[in-house]
Each structure stands twice: as C-alpha cells, then as structure tokens.
Symmetry: C2
Subunit: 205 residues, 2 copies
C-alpha cells in the first residue's frame, strides 16, 4: 500500500471520538495536475468506508496592497466553471518551494509587481472534504512594478480595486471565489476593524 | 468523447480574450465520491493544454441562527487533512434535489434542528481551479430542535457560537475552513454592517 500522503495527524484528546483511521490506500489517478487517492478508513464506530481525495502540494494567496490602499486583483478564466473569476493572485507551491518564495514568484509572474514588505496573514483550507489543499495567505506591501511574466498557458487580466469595491462585488454576487472572500475578511480583521498595527509594522523582507 | 459536464458558459464579451475552449474530454476516474475529468482545451493563443478537474453535484452551506443570535456550528473530522474542523453545516445535493431541499435535509440530519425561515444569502465557489463545485448559502432562522439523524458513517459534534466567537477563532487560526469564513463575511455584510432588513424579513418557508 502507498505511504500516507496526508498532513501529520493533529487531533486533540477531546476530539478523538470523531477520528477516522487509515486502513489502506492507493493512488487511483496520477494526472498532469491531479493526484487522486482512494483509502479504506475505519470509522469511530468500527465500521469501514471509502474516502477519496486529492493530494495537493499546497498553495498561496497574495493580497497586494498599493500605496493608495487599493488591492491588485485578477480576472481569470477558470475552465471547470466555464467563466471568469475575480480573485486575489494565487498559485501552487513548486516541489521543495517555501510558501513565501511561491508567493513572491507568483506575485511577479501574474501581476508584474515585486513587494518589499511581506506579512503572513494566516491559513485557509478550501475543500476540507476532498482535498489536502492548504492556502497560506500573505499581504504584500511597498510594491514596485517590474513587468509580469506569465507562465505558458496562463492568461489573466489585472485590475486595482478598493476593499469597498471588493465588498460591493461580494454583495452583488460578482465575487464568489471562496479563497478571495475568506482572505478579504482576514485582511479586514487585521487592518480595518481592530486597533492592529498598520500594514508593514510587522516585518520587512 | 464524453458530453461537456461543466456548467453552461458564462463569459461577457470583454472577457472573451481570456477564454479557453474544450477540444475533447474523458472521465478518467469514476469513484464512490469523485468524478474526475481530463479535457484537452484550446488556449486564447491557439495552443492546446490539459485541464483536469472534479465534476461536483453542487453543495449547500447553512447558517443556523438561534433566537439569541448564536450560530449552530459543527466540529467534524476531515480525513484528507487528518484533523477536526470548525464549520457551518454543509452537504452535497442528492441527484435531482434542489439546493433549498438539500439545506433543509442537511440541517436536520446534522444538527437536529428544523427552521421555519429560510433566506438565500448567495453562492461561493471553493475550488475554481480544479472543481465544478458551487455552494449555495442559506440562513436558517426560527429553529426548533427535533433531534438529529446522521447518515451512516457520519460523526460530528454540534456547538453554539456567537459571531464574535467565530471571528476570534478566525483571528486565532482555529477557523480555517474557507467556505465557513466566506459565509460568515456574507452574513455579517447583510445582517450587521449595513442597514439591511433583519433576518427573516425576506422570506418565510
């Protein structure tokens, strides 16, 4: 049987009655993008069932903040949903790459900016039921435009929007990308709704 | 080649330069849970590439609001991530089932409540890069406890939390489920930060 590809177990004792344990598992599809697993698991009541899920290398999301407070955002066609989405810049970790290095690489590739200030904002999980994906969220400040260099096969537009404009897009149903909505709330908690230090007081790259 | 399983195309003319078109596609894994596709697509520059993605039946998320304003939330072990998550109740549509009926069914199955008032809050997309999943978000009010009836193989705990407690869990890194964070912001936009009508003024089931 294949090695367990999931993150290390993290279950406090008060949650142990909810835990499922791995009996065996196998890779059932190994594609260009997706690594699909099918595990037999033992449930809390001793019965067994099947869990199928995607093994994901991890991703980053970047909130790039211009000097006037506006965010740099993207419009990108997403093939599975057959439409264009309004999103913060994001991308997957390359093998062996740290989240911060991924964020620095993706920001420049996709938006053409480099940032002198990087602050880690937190972590989200987009699809807890069928993917191991975790997204590290960073705020990028002190931006300088150096020109973008999209990957082959990557096409996207860049725009600048205020937080109020993003919130209006959420209210209108135009902004539906969950990672972007979640990151926006985390940003507003830290930089708008509380007496937290301003952007950049916490770290300089 | 298999029929196109994606949602209907929705691309405005100003975004057509970003669009990718389907050349051919096939199902590459048909599991108990996951339906995995691999399509050849034509990019905006005429080149072709591969897109792999999950075909998902759609899901719902329910924000159950008690008379004192607290939310009913869940703690559930999520196998792919090897840990327990704090989440709003959620679940997948059964074949032919409407989102509202799914929400009503899942609320009772998972939390033991029925709701006399249902309001649709909006739509989010958890994984735009590799899934067709869309999640309809509902607010459930006027709750009555009738006792839960979990699906076979489903184990989860119920708790009651204020919106401030959920926001604190987000600040602390305990709340990382993106659909729950996104739904919380949508709820706060409608019911706290703006002079919107109170919960339930919009529809009664």
């Amino acid at each position: 049987m294949a090695a367990d590809p999931r993150p290390a177990r993290s279950v406090v004792s008060s949650d142990q009655h909810l835990e499922e344990t791995r009996v065996e598992g196998a890779r059932v599809f190994d594609g260009a993008l997706l690594d699909v697993r099918r595990d037999v698991v033992r449930l809390p009541d001793g019965a067994t069932t099947i869990r199928e899920y995607i093994v994901h290398p991890g991703a980053v999301l970047i909130i790039p903040v211009l000097a006037d407070g506006r965010f740099v955002v993207e419009r990108q066609f997403r093939y599975p949903l057959h439409r264009v989405f309004l999103e913060f810049p994001a991308g997957k970790l390359d093998a062996g790459e740290s989240a911060l290095v991924t964020a620095q690489r993706e920001l420049t590739e996709e938006t053409g900016y480099i940032a002198a200030r990087w602050t880690r904002l937190g972590l989200i999980h987009p699809t807890v039921s069928y993917s191991t994906e975790a997204i590290e969220i960073f705020v990028a400040g002190d931006l300088t435009h150096v020109g973008r260099k999209l990957d082959d096969g990557e096409f996207l537009d860049i725009a600048e929007m205020t937080s109020d404009a993003l919130l209006a897009a959420l209210d209108d149903g135009e902004l539906t990308d969950a990672k972007t909505v979640a990151a926006l709330l985390m940003y507003l908690r830290k930089h708008q709704n509380r007496s937290a230090p301003p952007l950049g007081a916490e770290g300089r790259a």
